[in-house]
Symmetry: C3
Subunit: 440 residues, 3 copies
Amino acid sequence: MTPEQIAQLTELSAKFDMLGKVNAEILYWWCTALMVSIHAGFLAYEMGASRIKNTLAAGVKNILAFAFLVPTFYLFGWFIYNAFPTGFTISETGWAALAWSSNMGPNLTDSASGIFWAAFTMFAATTASIMSGSVIERITVGAFIILAIALGAFVWILGAAWGWHPAGWLTTEWGFHDTAAAGCVHTIAGFFTLGVLINLGPRIGRFLSDGRAVDIPGHNVPLSLIGLMLIIMGFFGFLGGCIIYVNGGQWVTIFNTPTTLSAFAFNTLMGFGGGVLGAYFTTREPFWMMSGALAGIIACAAGLEIYYPPLAFAIAFFTGATIPLVANFVTRMGIDDAVGAVAVHGYSGVVSLLAAGIFLAGYPNVAEGAPPVNFLGQLGSAVVMVLLGFVPGYLLSLLLKVMGILRVPEKVEVMGLDIVKVPSRPYPEGPGVPVGAPAE
Amino acid sequence: MTPEQIAQLTELSAKFDMLGKVNAEILYWWCTALMVSIHAGFLAYEMGASRIKNTLAAGVKNILAFAFLVPTFYLFGWFIYNAFPTGFTISETGWAALAWSSNMGPNLTDSASGIFWAAFTMFAATTASIMSGSVIERITVGAFIILAIALGAFVWILGAAWGWHPAGWLTTEWGFHDTAAAGCVHTIAGFFTLGVLINLGPRIGRFLSDGRAVDIPGHNVPLSLIGLMLIIMGFFGFLGGCIIYVNGGQWVTIFNTPTTLSAFAFNTLMGFGGGVLGAYFTTREPFWMMSGALAGIIACAAGLEIYYPPLAFAIAFFTGATIPLVANFVTRMGIDDAVGAVAVHGYSGVVSLLAAGIFLAGYPNVAEGAPPVNFLGQLGSAVVMVLLGFVPGYLLSLLLKVMGILRVPEKVEVMGLDIVKVPSRPYPEGPGVPVGAPAE
Amino acid sequence: MTPEQIAQLTELSAKFDMLGKVNAEILYWWCTALMVSIHAGFLAYEMGASRIKNTLAAGVKNILAFAFLVPTFYLFGWFIYNAFPTGFTISETGWAALAWSSNMGPNLTDSASGIFWAAFTMFAATTASIMSGSVIERITVGAFIILAIALGAFVWILGAAWGWHPAGWLTTEWGFHDTAAAGCVHTIAGFFTLGVLINLGPRIGRFLSDGRAVDIPGHNVPLSLIGLMLIIMGFFGFLGGCIIYVNGGQWVTIFNTPTTLSAFAFNTLMGFGGGVLGAYFTTREPFWMMSGALAGIIACAAGLEIYYPPLAFAIAFFTGATIPLVANFVTRMGIDDAVGAVAVHGYSGVVSLLAAGIFLAGYPNVAEGAPPVNFLGQLGSAVVMVLLGFVPGYLLSLLLKVMGILRVPEKVEVMGLDIVKVPSRPYPEGPGVPVGAPAE
């Protein structure tokens, strides 16, 4: 072998390694980009789910949640993820995730931190958007922002450190497996929302004096449906963010178990199809059908890379068919969840974790010494996720309620939040022009 | 060369091969994701093209088509594609595409089946969406689903096996060339739709007693326009699914002819621009302009990788300019195609195949022993595609008509499908609040 | 080393090189695709920002701009970029960019030209869309198309040749640095628009006889907000088009300075968050918040790959907070900028260039002999960009005004452009059904 050939080989190896860094950046860049579609979707969905008088207030809230999560997840969230996989003790890895670390900015020797931070930030903003729809038409902007930051920059990411991290204690101790973040994102966000809704109370007119519920339909259902389909497109960005690129090797999950993106593709579509058809089966309602699409994918998420596709379809069908029932149950408890997020995200997240406990029992986790997937580990982890969401959501919203800043005054709610809080009208030429407002 | 260097070389080769699998998965994953934008787009487009009273029924139909195609294409469609390239004899390759094959689920040794299946499933759902808009406002959901499954899980994919497959008999025998699936997707879906429309009949009020047509405009044209632009974005996912990644080699078409994605980029944009301007030239109508964008890309699809860009522009301009005339002709035949799919997809697909016959005559197909591209081969193949779409669409819809389940009762059609079939209203606060419905 | 091993090494090297070409094509293909989302977004945004009577005319204009830019950028724009980096002398590199060059079409030996041309064409169409929103409700379609072609196929791309090109004279002579095209795209388009607006004049009713401005709100603010969020998604495609893929090496900017996509990710999101919050701080207005998101990203664009993320946030916050003030100032000058593009693009672009002059002073440019980044170079280049936009925009619109074809007749403006210019209505069933028009 000539020296030239040796040099060629060495150079090629180095270039191949560099290629791996670049490829990973490209992958997660597109994940981040597509997750913006989740936010375009939530924006459409939520404004459509509001009555006209609250449309822009719903939108403002949603846009602010995304915007506030960027700096707060930079300051706190990323540190929490890297610091607390073992529970409440700070791991060494946390320090590199603090704002004054050289990893937390442009750095030619670190092509990973920024892109992973960005993808995680989009996850964080998604948790806030999950709550956002449920609390429309009566929450104050200030209280919502505090709750959104608590959920997106603190709570869910602690759950992710525990249960969606190669060294998370739920996995290393209990064998927890949750490939596409059904626990830390959906279960936590759903139950955090439940905690908030209890203190927030229902919209005026949602329940009659005898406790019977009155439907308050959103003013633009087509807009909500299109928004939900944009969320589905964005879900591919989210799921792409749940698989780890290994240069020249097999893909792994965040738990270091080997997988393929091909497997993700099978079960993402099966989750979509099963969820839509399940919800159609029980409701015939397009809003629930598209919510079922989300619920179906969420329900398959914990074992997304392993299920036989027809099994994924069945899990999704079951979940899509049952979310409307769960939502009805929540309503019968006197809780006003305007878009059904407790059912679609909270309940479906739990189903996802338990389904993995049932169907994947015995499947190994690669983390050293970690027990294999097992039902009790999944059940216990689901309880942890439910509590990690519910307790902070309940306590913080209780505090805000006691301080008198959780909910807008009754008069504002009746008039509509837009008129009081937003210096513009959604449809100046109608429908819904406020009395006295100038038409063109 | 030291043993270490030999090992390094061997390892690098192996890693490079693995990289190829992963790169292909990533490419088609994003194709699949972007094709969801086609469905968000069709959803917006179709609901906008309906009258208010039928808006949600149109949406429900569209969402169901996508959802039903997932399991049915898994069970039947993928097998048909792999089994029938030679005509009606089952090829060996078909068996790996059956639901009980180890390829049809997560499999660490097969990183291709899932991702290709997913991309093809999105193509399948697209064929159903092409039909979906044309039949709005009077078809029953049940009949539509049966027709959608027939088209998406059986008919078009048989056409793909014949004419969009490296071993498809139309190519190996007749020299058929159709890079971006103008034949199996657009021609077949368009003519299947024509067959259905003949039996379905026009909407009440579409034709006067003397046969003159009355325009029935959709209730939200801006929504339709935005939907069409989302379809254009999704088209890049569709076209990305029409080029085969070769690790460390030149791209090839599905016919194994060499190409570049760069060539696709030139002619996709030229197809867009030409199609819009052609339709603007003849109509000044935004709905037709955006339909012209689709038609222009479709018209360039068969030779997308070969045309000189100004030629692609000219083909697209011609097609965009003529689709409104074709749509008028269809209407004059007494056929009520609510969104012009027969013209936009059926006619443009045929133009695409014939244009390739004219401008690419003599261009070689790589499949062994296959004749080069030739006009008669393209013409004959176009006839096959037209018949393969039209005949099943006509016969199956005739059967459904005879059974009395093709069309909703007249009374339902007059009242609007939403009121009878969907337990929610699109715009509860107006416009279009049904008489007696509770406003807020 | 055996001959087999030598052959293996040689082959692997060749495959690796080929892989680089393919990877670059894939990257910019997705950039192009996502930039279609910019156009879906602008379409939604602009139609929403029009009054009902002008909705479809606004959409038609927008779609036409994109469509006309495809052939004109093919014929002129790409040549200008490659020919004029040194000023007004034609460089050798220009000839390969002319329509009769073998590079300007499918070419198995050139996998770069088509994909780069496509991405640049989307940039070009974006400049036209920036202007498009400002001039709604009174410009003629013909004049708009002439101006759009001038801006998109000639003016901005000359600015790009000078200041967004590895050999551009602004960089080689003055040390100009502008990573994500804040100057050639946003500054030029914004000030071109200003020039046009001066001659075009305000909409009837925009100013009272005493000069006070009357707000003319768009008819569908939710649609505008969703459109703006789709533009943000598309911005990731735009920014991806601002980084150069180097096979097996470090990313570089268009100025050949090393960077990472990870750095882009940090500061893109920081720009988004800071811009939204800044605009919220000064206005509480959702339209300005989402405009602030654009402004924030634009303001960080010139130094996108270098800023410490909290600095990027601060720059974006400042810019988001000040754009409404700038827009008010423009209005007080008697100029009617219907969507604030002069502030959002023109002003933010200038802020971006100057901020890089302040915060990046001394940072080296890699082009041989080029001075490092310096404030005077950035300031001088900003002046060049402002003039390069303003002067042609002003002169050409003045010419069109003198010819009497710039603006629709007063009667048409009062009735609405849709009724006169577009053979369809946006909402045939209301709201806004024109008097005498047939409801369903």
